[in-house]
Each structure stands twice: as structure tokens, then as C-alpha cells.
Assembly symmetry: C3
Homo-oligomer: 279 residues x 3
């Protein structure tokens, strides 16, 4: 029997004891786990940021992996704690949109278009048909006493460890049909142009947009961002002298600097508008 894998995506940083406490609790339940950090450098309480990082990593893990996502500004309030079981992994975390990229992968293009709400606003969706969702209501699988400020340690990590040890998904709580989802993927499209937003900026200053390859007009394109125009798609980061656009390893259209930060050069932040049109 192989070790089961649990991953962690949090805004805890790596300086405090929070993360280790979660891992200790999990190892106390199942000693032979393989624990993998996705990231702990999510900016404090930035749910959309954490959602992106988890959404860019989970699909590379074995399908029996349990992913723990804790970016949880509403801890101790009425926000639900949930388990989402998808065909490509199981996920535990707060019901606040941190699983949006996972859910999106099981929604149609039309389902993720919320034209009347602004970028990054939470909306309530029906659970995609390929997924099952449970509210974590069964305290049998929690670490007691349960604090009101640290459900990562007291609810999410122990539930994940119990799931990894073979506890059935139905046992962790009540099946539910609705979830919070962040409106990060709405595009404005016409015949010859598509408009989206910068959804993520990585360590290298690359600007990742919410425009996926399938939504591009064709390969003869021009990208506009922050008053700058980029012609065509590059294949590698070495292809252009300064700014370039390419389909990044996440599968999204990305604006990058060749050996320098595009974010710094353009002064662009998450939420900035990006337009792609036919040349």
C-alpha cells in the first residue's frame, strides 16, 4: 500500500507554528502520510490568490490526493467548512471561493460567465454534476477541543487525514448542493476581440490572465495591457527582447518580461483589464 498524499495551500507563511500544528495533527491520525506544501505564501486572506495556486497544482497529483486549502478570513463565523470530491482529487477547506479554480474545471464555459457581477465577487453556484460536496458537520473526525480561530488544525487537517486513512466521504457530514464561487472567469467577447483580467502575478512578475487558449480569436493576435501593445504569441521566454505574450504553463494567456518583471515594468496589479484582438 502506498502512502496517501495530503497537500496544503494556506496563507500561514512559513515562520509561525500554524502549518506544523496542522501537519502534526494529520500525522497523529495517519503516520504514513506524504505531506506536500503547495504554498503557504498566499497574501493574508487573499482567497482568489490561494484559489489560483491550488488550481494550478492539484491536477498534477494522484487522484486519491486530499488537498487542504486554508485561506479563511471568516474562521469561527457562519461560513461552512466543506469537502469537495472531484474526479481528480478531494478538497477540504472553507466555503468561501478558495476552491473556485477546481470547480471551474467541472463547469462549462457558459456556467462560469457571471456578467452582472463585478470581477472577483463571490456568487453562489450549484455543485457541478461531476462533484460531490459535503458540509463538515461530523465532529468525530475533528481535533478537540475545536478552537474558534484555527479550523485548519482542528477541522480541515484531521478530516483530510481521516479521508486519507479510508474514512468514507459520506461520513464527514451532510451532502450539500450549493457552494460559494468567485467570479474570476467572466470574459467580454465579440467576434474579433476578447477582454479579461489579470488574475495572478507570479514570482517572476509574469502577468497571468483569465483568458485560456480556447478563448483566443486565433493566433494572429494583438494583446493590449496598460497602454502597451504586444503582437502575437511567443513560444518561450527567450523569444522577444522585452515584453512578450504566451500561453503559460498554467494554460492561460500570460504577459511576461524576457529576463525581467512584466508586473514592475507595466505597474500592473491583479484585476487589470487585458484585451486580445485580431491583428
Amino acid at each position: 500500500v502506498s502512502n496517501r498524499v495530503i497537500t496544503f495551500t494556506t496563507d500561514f507563511g512559513s515562520a509561525d507554528a500554524y502549518l506544523a500544528a496542522m501537519k502534526g495533527v494529520a500525522l497523529g491520525i495517519v503516520p504514513d502520510l506524504t505531506l506536500v506544501d503547495i504554498t503557504h505564501e498566499v497574501p493574508p486572506q487573499d482567497i482568489a490568490h490561494g484559489a489560483f495556486v491550488l488550481g494550478s497544482a492539484y491536477q498534477y497529483f494522484p487522484v486519491d490526493t486530499v488537498h487542504v486549502a486554508v485561506v479563511d478570513p471568516g474562521v469561527g463565523t457562519r461560513r461552512k467548512a466543506v469537502l469537495v470530491v472531484s474526479p481528480t482529487g478531494s478538497f477540504v477547506g472553507p466555503d468561501n471561493g478558495v476552491l473556485s479554480y477546481v470547480l471551474k474545471d467541472y463547469m462549462t464555459f457558459d456556467q462560469v460567465q457571471f456578467k452582472s457581477t463585478e470581477f472577483a465577487r463571490p456568487v453562489v453556484i450549484t455543485v457541478p454534476s461531476d462533484c460531490q460536496v459535503y458540509e463538515l458537520t461530523n465532529p468525530e473526525y475533528w481535533h478537540h477541543p475545536v478552537s474558534s480561530t484555527f479550523h485548519g488544525r482542528d477541522i480541515f487537517a484531521p478530516v483530510a487525514a481521516h479521508l486519507a486513512s479510508g474514512v468514507q466521504q459520506e461520513n464527514v457530514g451532510e451532502s450539500i448542493q450549493e457552494l460559494v464561487f468567485l467570479n474570476l472567469f467572466t470574459l467580454r467577447r465579440s467576434d474579433d476581440r476578447v477582454e479579461g483580467e489579470v488574475i495572478y502575478i507570479d514570482r517572476f512578475g509574469n502577468l497571468v490572465s483569465n483568458i485560456q487558449k480556447d478563448s483566443l480569436p486565433d493566433r494572429e493576435i494583438v494583446i493590449e495591457l496598460a497602454g502597451v501593445t504586444i503582437s502575437g504569441l511567443s513560444r518561450t521566454f527567450s523569444d522577444a527582447d522585452s515584453l512578450l505574450a504566451l500561453i503559460g504553463s498554467h494554460g492561460y494567456l500570460e504577459v511576461a518580461g524576457n529576463r525581467g518583471s512584466a508586473a514592475r515594468r507595466l505597474g500592473v496589479e491583479v484585476g487589470a483589464t487585458l484585451t486580445v484582438r485580431r491583428r
Copy 2:
């Protein structure tokens, strides 16, 4: 047989090779270890900081875990290298106070009151009766040649791995009866007030004090810190508009900002005085 767990708490950061060298040495002795980072972001040579983080995490790990603590400004000098075996875990590290929070958990309230010495000063204590302590004097379990600057790699990690592989605690060195302890927990108390210090500031800017729940006058309290007064205890970080006080997930009285850093707002550092009194 399950993998044995070794944890690491250091001030090495994550940029250099020091940590990996320790892990490599440990895996060379026992290939099937589960290695967990508690933190490596202890500010360089800040023993009290490292002691707090380890002290907030160790109790969540299986009791047969071996914890390695290396915040070691005196490496290569006469300071002892020690193994502390407690009912809730084994610990290897320098005898400089980095295990103070672990030891405190086995001392009475009166034993941790050192009224005549200043905050954070090292004192010498007798080993608590539930613990056994050994000076690491047996070179059989070290990595050779032993450097004079990196005992983490050459003494602490290999001893931890040998302990995890089943070496008996008595074999690593001589039993000793005294240890260095940091005076972090002394409170000034009267009938209706208790005065302590800020002992830790976390990533979110939360100010953790050395006042535990048991030492509070009662629930109708007022907290004073840096000229600010906070009334009563909150249950979650969302309960108040700006500054709030609560019993944090570490079990200590903590002053936090709701969605903002209390440390930055108050300009407070470790060592600042905090007073709790009856309303």
C-alpha cells in the same frame, strides 16, 4: 512499521544549503523518515522566538517524534548539546533555552516564576521530574568530521535519526540534571490584575502574550497595551471592528487586529508590557 517523524526548527532560512545538509545526513542514517519543517524563519540567533514556535507545534505530533531545534549562536563554544525526553516528544538541540516552552509544560506555575531576573534572561533550572535529559557526548552517533560551526548537521540531525531508528536514549550521552531556561513566563499578579509581556508576534501581526487563560482574573476584563485599552475577550478575529483580544490557538492571551496587523498599528515589539485587569 510506520515511518518515524523528525521535525526541524532553525534560524537557517530556506535559501542556503544548511537545512538540506541536515536532512541528507538524517536520511543517510534512516531512509524512511518523515521529515517535517516546523520553521526555518526564526530571526538569526533569536532563541526565544524559536523556542516559542517549537513550543506551539510539538504537542500536535506523535509522541515518538524527535524534534531538532537549532538556534545556536554558541555553536562550537562550551554550551552543551542535549537530548530532552518528555512524555510528549523527544528534543535535541543546544542547551541555551531553545527548549524553554517544552520544559515549561512540565513545570508548575511557581517553578516558572523568576521574579528577580529580567524578561528573557537565561536561568539554570533543575530538569522537571517527568523529563530525562542527556548531554550528547557519544560521538558514535555523530556525522564525522564534526565541524565547529554546524552541529545541526554533524551532531543534532544524526543523533535524531539514530534515536528515530531505535537507539536507546541512554546511549547518546551522560544523564544531566540541570538545563538553561529562558525567563519568559514571569507574571506580576495581584488580586485584580496581572501583568505580562508580549512574547511573540506572528505573520498576521497578532501580539501573543505570556498570559495563559488560567492566569486571567475572570472574563470581565480590560487589557492595556501601548496606551490602548481593549474591553473583554472576543471569540473570533471577526468579532470586533479594529483591535481585539482573544485566547489564541496557542492558548495564550493575544491582541489582534481584525483584518490588519496589531503589531504595526500599535508599534509594539516583543517584550512590551501588557496588563489585564478586572473591569
Copy 3:
């Protein structure tokens, strides 16, 4: 059977999903790997820096460890992807010098002296006789589709996992006889003096030079750096009041501040000249 160990040395940082994607791919191939981070804090695209950290850590790991090194500014261009098998470990990464410290350990002192080229310049060398090198040309062991921007995830991590699972080294690609090597180790020597460079600055501000113990005139030495003169070698960081020199735990001559950053005090960067002469 023990878990096989794979290590990672990258410039990916710990904030983005890149590292987790690599680990997920590896665990998808071999679920029972032990994954160890050497560092991900290599400054972006700083090949020499990454080479130093890997070169300071690999020798402490079991010899059947597979080390993955991804500091890869040329990803997607013609630079080769390689496997280096040495007597003390296997290494996969781009052929851009990131394995220079590993190769150096199998070269003679004369072989690493490239007097006509400047510090840190890439040169082409013949593979050392104790090593075998393969260009990664067999797509059977890659993760598909292969992107042009992220060979860490698509080539290096899956090849490492397949090697860890027992795939023979000959199967990953064609044997090659030449490699890129960074000229980091050239010293200027005369009878009573040796001149080298600062090759690395660690978290503590210690200045590591490329002068190894064997190259020192004798123990009665004077070290000159940035207009400052240090007499003799110390044994520990506590031995001197301010600046001191010692043979660091990496085996190189190092200039350190006692409880303070020597780099900051001297205003020195990588590449600075350091002279050792007889007193």
C-alpha cells in the same frame, strides 16, 4: 524497500504553483518518494547561486538520491537537458552550469583552472571520468504535453521519478561527452599568496570564497577583502569581536561577522576579490 529520495533546487520561490506541480508529477509516477527541498530561493535565473547551494548539500544524501536542479533561463531554447550520474548521486537539469559544483568534485585542481576566461563565465568541458552523462532525449519518460516554458514539470521531475523507480540511466537518452561548466574556481596563486573570489553570500551575511582549505598557504595567514585585513583563522563564529575568517561548513574559506552580517558591513557582493597571503 526504502523510499527513494528526490531533491529539488530551483529559483521558483515558494509562492507559486511551479514546485508543487513538479512534486505532483513525480508522486503520480512513484507514490512512495521522499521529496526534499534543497532550496527554491535561488535568485531568479542565477545559475551560479543555485549551483553552489546544490553543491553544498548533495554529498550528505544517500548515493541513490536523484537531485533535480531547475535554474533554467534558457528553457525552450536549444540548451540540452541532461542526466549526470556521479558516484555520489544522480542529477537532472539543464546543461547550463547548474551542476558545476558537482562536476568540480570529480575534476582535478588543474582541470578547474580556466585562466583565460573571466569569473563565472560558462566554458565547455569533457565529462569527468567518474561520471556518465546523458542528454534527455527519450520522451517516454516525460510528462505530456510538454510545454516550452516549464521543463521542470514536464521533463526533469518525471525523468527523476522514473529513475527513482528503477529505470536504467541508459534509457533516458543519448550518452554525451561534453557539458557546460561555470568558471567559478580559477585561483591566482604564487608561492606566498592566493587570490580568489566571493562565490556565495548566505542568509547570515557570511562571505564564502572559492578558496578551499587545501589551497591556503598555511595557517599563519592574512586575508584581505574590501580594504579590510583579517589575521588568522578562527575556529567558531564566537572567536572574534567583529570580522573573522574560518573554514566554513562548506569547506571553503569564509569571512563572517560575529553576530552580524559581514556582507553588509563590508558592502561586498559575489565576485569580489579576496586575497590570502602569508603573514
